[in-house]
Symmetry: C2
Subunit: 193 residues, 2 copies
């Protein structure tokens, strides 16, 4: 399939990313050193540098994992910037995608500063390839009533919050159940009573 020969075993590159994901969530990106990653990997620091050009490059790869997860729903959101009623539908899709791999979201949520720096330094693409950028553009759009925008911010926060603030509190809750509950909550937020 990919560029790897193996079938069951993961490539070293993927293993590094998995380890980095754990450590970046636990300690934060800045407080995690390549030595720690290399130790868990069982190899030396230089081995890590063989697979990634820099520490930021590891974060970048994780960013792409997250980006791939969304498929086109980010574009959908960008195309309906000024249509508050359309948001609810897009967010439903979002919620499903987010919960499918919660940890990537938690990573993003907990290392916002690092990701922003990454975007400033490396990703000079458009604002909208970025999750945060998309949200901020939407929330700052003066053509949409403030009340609607605040509601959207609350809805986004509700999704993120369930993952980030709760931590491991809902780890044992089946993904489908959690998805349903969050969808219901977001529905209450975006649909007028």
């Amino acid at each position: 399939m990919g560029s790897d020969g193996g079938e069951g075993e993961k490539s070293t590159r993927e293993r590094i990313l998995d380890i980095a994901l754990d450590l970046f969530i636990d300690q934060g990106y800045d407080k995690t050193s390549l030595r720690e990653i290399a130790d868990r990997l069982g190899y030396s620091k230089a081995a890590v540098y063989y697979h990634f050009a820099s520490k930021a490059d590891i974060l970048l790869a994780l960013h792409y994992r997250l980006h791939d997860m969304f498929g086109g729903s980010l574009d959908d959101l960008n195309q309906q910037v000024d249509d508050p009623v359309a948001w609810a539908k897009v967010l439903d899709t979002f919620i499903g995608q987010m919960l499918a791999d919660r940890r990537l979201f938690i990573l993003h949520e907990r290392n916002r500063a690092a990701f922003e720096k990454l975007h400033r330094d490396q990703l000079h693409e458009d604002q909208h390839s970025d999750l945060e950028g998309t949200f901020r553009t939407l929330l700052a759009n003066p053509e949409v009533p403030v009340a609607d925008r605040v509601r959207l911010a609350c809805a986004l926060g509700a999704i993120m919050g369930t993952l980030a603030i709760a931590g491991e509190a809902f780890a044992s809750v089946p993904t489908e159940d959690l998805t349903d509950m969050i969808r219901s909550a977001v529905g209450d937020l975006l649909t007028p009573r």
Copy 2:
């Protein structure tokens, strides 16, 4: 009033905290060096060390600023751990307090890893003196139905999200208006239709 002699001018200590607040929000705690703080202050690094024993000590002082802001409402929440209907009232108070000094909240939101480490290293007090600790305890309480706890997580996320995700988007919105809008949203989340 306080321990300072001056009336109009701030003490150096307070100035350091203000500068640190700005930088920690912008770049994150880890990526901010004492040299940067000292530069903005106009003094040397050693001058900063005169006022604070360590870098972590600066973060600690900011933690106390946040802590003081709450007054007793954190205790209120701790005393009504298993009463979901009481949460709504406490959160109303919370929202007002949070918005009264948004930036302290954003600091906390954006440097969760650093604050957690601070608590592990320095604050061996009780779990409940801490904002996050209080929330996590509440959200993990098995005596409360999961659905209620998820709703609470959404409500907390909605509050945090409006501050953290939105960034400067709502900077021009009057605090009272924003408070009302968030209270209304949280009400919709916690009150069954």
